[in-house]
Each structure stands twice: as structure tokens, then as C-alpha cells.
């Protein structure tokens, strides 16, 4: 291609810069407000954000792994393990929260580390490695608890997922989980888009060989990506456990939802492209879809069908745009 063509494409690219996920989200929110004007009240949108928080955090972590060229299927079962583990360890002792929360975050990092090590050094494709991890962690959660939750989560632990800050001007109240969401997503977005780590995550997902020959510590970056995903899983677990209490299948299905959210946000499967804010947008859009279908009173099967269609359509549209713009 000549340089003239380069400039042409570049110029045309600038027009549709806005990520379609935000358009989708805006349309969905509009529809929700139309269906249920109460959504414009703080109770409406704060509940929505509170509910979306675990998935959004999970998607923000998942987008690291996807951008680095992998998948992390283990986050769902990690959530379960965090919730079950925390209930076992705290055993309704409010004082235990202060060491259990860091421990759970450490466990998330540890699971991510293990995923990364398996992918980097045993050379197992991440799809299989994290699938194995998913099965193993679910089994561990059951083994640890003997198949049923054995303890309660004290209110101090549930603080993050359940409590609100009341009497806030303008919005009346802010759930703690929304604050956690903002902090975590802000941090992950900054890491991804403003730091060397983020650029290198993109590089190793784009071309691991070239990145390695350019001196990028490929394994270290990849392991870090898995660890951030693990960490986001642990945080999501703490929020979910806080929101709704203990059960042995809290996390099931979250891994696919997180991947879906990241993909809705335009993350390229197999690596090289991904945005944390857009993945969060994807998570909010997904939650908005569920909420909307709920308001419409559609039964579960219809929700599945809609989710499936949107998933395929989003990716097909992205591919179409990519071909059109020649990028």
C-alpha cells in the first residue's frame, strides 16, 4: 500500500472513533428509562451499578488476559472459591475480615500466577489451562466446604458488597461497591492505557515473538495479566459474597459473561487490542440487557436467545467494520 492510501484510511478512521459499545449502552439505558422512569432515581441507577459492579470489575481484569492473547476461564470458579473460602475462614468473626480480605486478594493473585506459570512454562494454551483451573477450583471449593457452605460472612466482610453511604448530596446514597468499582476500574484503566505494563500487554498479545526479541519480558507481562485477572476475580468475589451471602455456585457462568463483556467492548480475541473502559461499558451493556429483558417480563429462555444473538452480532459487526476500514 502506498503512503497516500495510509493517510486516506487514517483520515476515514477518525470519524467512527467512538466505540459502538457506548452507543449500545446509551440505547439500552434509554430503553430502560422508557420502560421504567424510576430508573432515573438514585435507587434505580445506583442499584443497577451495584449489580453490575462485580461483572464490570471482572471484565476489566479479563480484558488484560484477552489483550495479551489468552482467555481466563477460571475467574468464575475463583469467585466461588473466594466466597466459600472467606466464609470458612471468617466463621462469622467480624475481626477476621481484616486478614481474610487481604488473604482472598492474595489467593486471587496466586491463582492468576499459577495460570500464568502453566501457560508460560508448561506451554498449555490458556483456554485449556484455565479450563483445567476452573474445574480444579470448583472441586477445591467443594472439598474445602464439604459441598455446602459452612460459615457465615460477618457484616464487616459484607460491608463492601452490601453497605451504602447515605445522605450523599445529589444522589442520596452511594453503595460501597460502586466506589470499589470506580477505584478498581480507574486503577486498571490507568494501568492498561497509561503505563508500560499496558503497552506491553498489547505488544505480547499482538506478536509475542517480536515482543520477546525487542526485550519485552513476555512471561512476566503475561503472568502479570493473569494475576490482574485473578485479582479482579477475587475482588468480584468479595463484592458478590457481600451483596448476597454464601453459596457454592455464586461464580458459575461469570467467566463467559466477562469474556462477552470484553468482546462487546471491542477487545480482540487472540490479543493485541483491548480497552478497559470499553470492557466495563460492555459489562454495563450486558447488565442493561438483562435488566431490560427483566422489565419486559421476558422469560429466561428469551434472555438466553437475546444474549446469544447480541454476542454474535457484536463480533460480526466489529469484523465487518474492521474489513471496511481495512485495518
Amino acid at each position: 500500500m502506498t503512503d497516500g492510501a495510509d493517510m486516506q484510511t487514517a483520515r476515514r478512521l477518525r470519524l467512527p472513533q467512538i466505540n459502538p459499545v457506548w452507543v449500545l449502552l446509551a440505547v439500552l439505558i434509554g430503553a430502560i428509562i422508557f420502560m421504567n422512569p424510576g430508573f432515573t432515581q438514585p435507587t434505580g441507577y445506583m442499584n443497577f451499578l451495584k449489580r453490575a459492579a462485580p461483572l464490570a470489575i471482572l471484565a476489566a481484569g479479563q480484558v488484560y488476559v484477552i489483550t495479551s492473547g489468552g482467555f481466563d476461564l477460571s475467574v468464575g470458579s475463583l469467585i466461588t472459591l473466594v466466597v466459600v473460602g472467606a466464609s470458612m475462614l471468617t466463621n462469622n468473626d467480624p475481626a477476621a475480615t481484616y486478614w481474610v480480605v487481604p488473604l482472598m486478594l492474595g489467593m486471587g493473585l496466586g491463582v492468576g500466577l499459577l495460570n500464568g506459570l502453566i501457560v508460560c512454562f508448561l506451554r498449555v494454551p490458556s483456554l485449556i489451562a484455565t479450563l483445567g483451573m476452573m474445574i480444579t477450583l470448583t472441586g477445591l471449593a467443594f472439598m474445602w466446604s464439604g459441598g455446602a457452605p459452612r460459615g457465615y460472612l460477618p457484616d464487616t466482610f459484607r460491608f463492601f458488597g452490601r453497605e451504602l453511604i447515605r445522605d450523599v448530596p445529589l444522589v442520596r446514597f452511594i453503595p460501597i461497591s460502586v466506589i470499589v468499582l470506580l477505584v478498581v476500574v480507574g486503577l486498571l484503566a490507568w494501568l492498561m492505557h497509561r503505563t508500560n505494563l499496558g503497552r506491553q500487554v498489547h505488544a505480547i498479545g499482538d506478536n509475542p515473538v517480536a515482543a520477546g526479541l525487542a526485550g519485552v519480558p513476555v512471561n512476566r507481562v503475561r503472568i502479570t495479566a493473569f494475576m490482574l485477572s485473578g485479582l479482579s476475580g477475587a475482588i468480584a468475589g468479595i463484592l458478590l459474597g457481600g451483596f448476597a451471602g454464601v453459596s457454592t455456585d455464586v461464580g458459575s457462568g461469570y467467566e463467559l459473561q466477562a469474556i462477552t463483556a470484553a468482546v462487546l467492548g471491542g477487545a480482540q480475541l487472540l490479543g493485541g487490542r483491548g480497552s478497559v473502559p470499553a470492557a466495563v461499558g460492555g459489562a454495563l451493556a450486558l447488565t442493561a440487557i438483562f435488566t431490560l429483558l427483566n422489565f419486559l417480563g421476558l422469560p429466561q429462555p428469551v434472555r438466553q436467545v437475546v444474549q446469544g444473538l447480541i454476542l454474535i452480532a457484536a463480533v460480526a459487526l466489529a469484523m465487518h467494520r474492521r474489513q471496511q476500514t481495512g485495518t
Binding site: 506451554r123 483456554l127 472441586g139 472439598m143 446469544g308
Partner: protein, 296 residues
């Protein structure tokens, strides 16, 4: 696993036992044969589990206990399988949607459509059709014979036909294959059809075995992820272009053996799950660690 087998060796190695072990995973084996085809062209199919549920229900509803309806029911199931396969294949090859996402979406759609209409066992399978799952030929279950024949057929296709050669070409290097005049899009669609038809057959088998179809039997058996695990354990690479049927059959055998051995050794089902996860990773690591390729 080896210890478990060894300690129970005397009773474990009877012919009856071996057949029982092989018979455990017929549905998984049939599905995995189909899955091998799509993975060879560097695609993947996550919709098999829902399709298995859908076809088992479809078969048992159409048959509804009447032997005369067996043929139409089987045809309808195979047609449904082919239809889903064509859709999957077209979404992957024409719309260029990542196969993981495409078939995941398809899986949700199938499951949704299915659950919209049935929520429990529906219809029933006539005695005559139960021969598929329960019949025996000289002491060997019909289904096992069928599985072996299906594997032989798949092997023959991959080894001796132009189509088989095209599959390896499309999976190995899509562009090279296209420039050699191979319509790789069509190959991808065809392998998806094979995969979905195999899943439909697995659905028929399960309908025959359970005497009826229910909308959860595919998901309960985790046939999507397990069939992929079996194929990958069998040495077929996810990137496509390398692998084969016998590896898949060996993978299936390993899964059956694990199950049986754990049962006999009385391993608690939670520990069993942990071990299963580790075995999947270890088996793939065993192949992967020798190759120099960077994976992600």
C-alpha cells in the same frame, strides 16, 4: 489412577468391565469425533451440548413411543444437526466471527429456544429404538460397535479422501489452501456440519439411553468442554492442522478410565473433580512442553 487400577486389578480387568468402561463415554466419544473435525480446521464448537439436548428432545417428541416414527425422528435430528452446523459454519467462515464466540452464542440461542418449549423430559422413545443404547451384538453393545465404526469412518475420511486432505490444509494454512483452490469456507462449514451431526447422533443415543429427551442432558454431561478436552488430550492442536481421530479415541478412553478408576477407588467426587482438572492440564502440557511454540 494406576494405583487404583492395580489394587483392584483382579476384578477390574474382566471383559465385562472393559466393555462397561468403554460404554461409559459413548456419547462423549461420538461428540468428540465431530469436535476433532472442527478443531482440525482451527475452529471450535461450544454449541454441541445444547444441540445434544435439543436433538434428544426432538427425537423423543417425534417418536413419542411409536416405532413407525423412528425414521422420521432420526432424519429430523440429523437435519437439525446439519442446519445448526451450517449456521455455525457460516457465522465462522462468512461473518468471520471468532468460533468460540459464534458457537457460544449459538449454544445460548439453542438452549433458549429449547427451554422456551420444554422444561422436562418430553415424549418417549419406543422399545425398538432403545436397541441403539441397550442392544448387544455378541455381548458387545451396539453403541460401542457404532462408535468404533464411526471412528473408522472418520479416520478414513481424514486419511484417504480429498476432503480430509483439504481439512488439514484449511487448518494448517488457510491462505495457502485457498490459493490452492480449496474453498476453505466450504470446508469450515462442512466440518461444522459433521460436528453438529455427530452431536445430533449423540443426542439420539442419549434419547435412546434415557428413553426420553430432556433439555438439560447436554449441559449436565458438559459435553462441550469435555469433548474439547478429550480432543486436545488426544494431541490435536487447537491451532488446527495437526492431530487425528485415534488420539481423540485415546483421550476418550483416558476419561472413561479416570471415571471408572475413581469410582472403584471410591474417590470422593469433589477430589475427583480436582484431579480431573489437573489431568487435563497435565496431559496437554505433556504434548505442549516439547513444542517450541509460544502459546497464549
Amino acid at each position: 489412577m494406576v494405583i487404583a487400577v492395580a489394587t483392584n486389578q483382579t476384578q477390574y480387568l474382566s471383559l465385562e468391565n472393559l466393555i462397561a468402561i468403554l460404554g461409559r463415554s459413548i456419547a462423549l466419544g461420538i461428540t468428540a469425533i465431530g469436535q476433532t473435525f472442527v478443531i482440525l480446521v482451527a475452529s471450535i464448537d461450544l454449541s454441541v451440548a445444547s444441540l445434544i439436548s435439543a436433538t434428544s428432545v426432538l427425537a423423543s417428541v417425534i417418536m413419542d413411543g411409536a416405532p413407525a416414527m423412528i425414521v422420521p425422528a432420526v432424519l429430523a435430528c440429523l437435519l437439525l444437526g446439519a442446519f445448526v452446523g451450517v449456521l455455525n459454519g457460516l457465522i465462522v467462515s462468512a461473518l468471520k466471527v471468532n468460533p468460540l464466540i459464534a458457537t457460544l452464542g449459538m449454544s445460548l440461542i439453542i438452549q433458549g429456544c429449547l427451554s422456551a418449549f420444554v422444561s422436562n423430559f418430553a415424549g418417549s422413545v419406543p422399545e425398538a429404538f432403545q436397541i441403539f443404547a441397550y442392544g448387544q451384538i455378541g455381548g458387545v453393545p451396539v453403541a460401542l460397535v457404532f462408535l468404533v465404526l464411526l471412528a473408522l469412518l472418520a479416520w478414513g475420511i481424514l486419511r484417504f479422501t480429498k476432503f480430509g486432505s483439504d481439512i488439514y490444509a484449511a487448518g494448517g494454512n488457510d491462505e495457502a489452501a485457498r490459493f490452492a483452490g480449496i474453498k476453505t469456507g466450504r470446508i469450515v462449514v462442512l466440518t461444522h456440519v459433521i460436528c453438529s451431526v455427530c452431536a445430533a447422533i449423540a443426542g439420539l443415543y442419549l434419547a435412546s439411553r434415557l428413553r426420553s429427551g430432556a433439555p438439560w442432558i447436554g449441559a449436565d454431561g458438559v459435553y462441550d468442554l469435555e469433548s474439547i478436552a478429550v480432543v486436545v488430550i488426544g494431541g490435536t492442536v487447537l491451532a488446527g492442522g495437526r492431530g487425528g481421530i485415534w488420539g481423540t479415541m485415546a483421550g476418550m478412553l483416558i476419561f472413561s478410565l479416570i471415571d471408572s478408576a475413581f469410582n472403584i477407588a471410591g474417590v470422593d467426587s469433589f477430589a475427583k473433580q480436582v484431579l480431573r482438572g489437573i489431568i487435563i492440564v497435565a496431559a496437554v502440557a505433556f504434548y505442549a512442553i516439547r513444542s517450541k511454540r509460544i502459546v497464549a
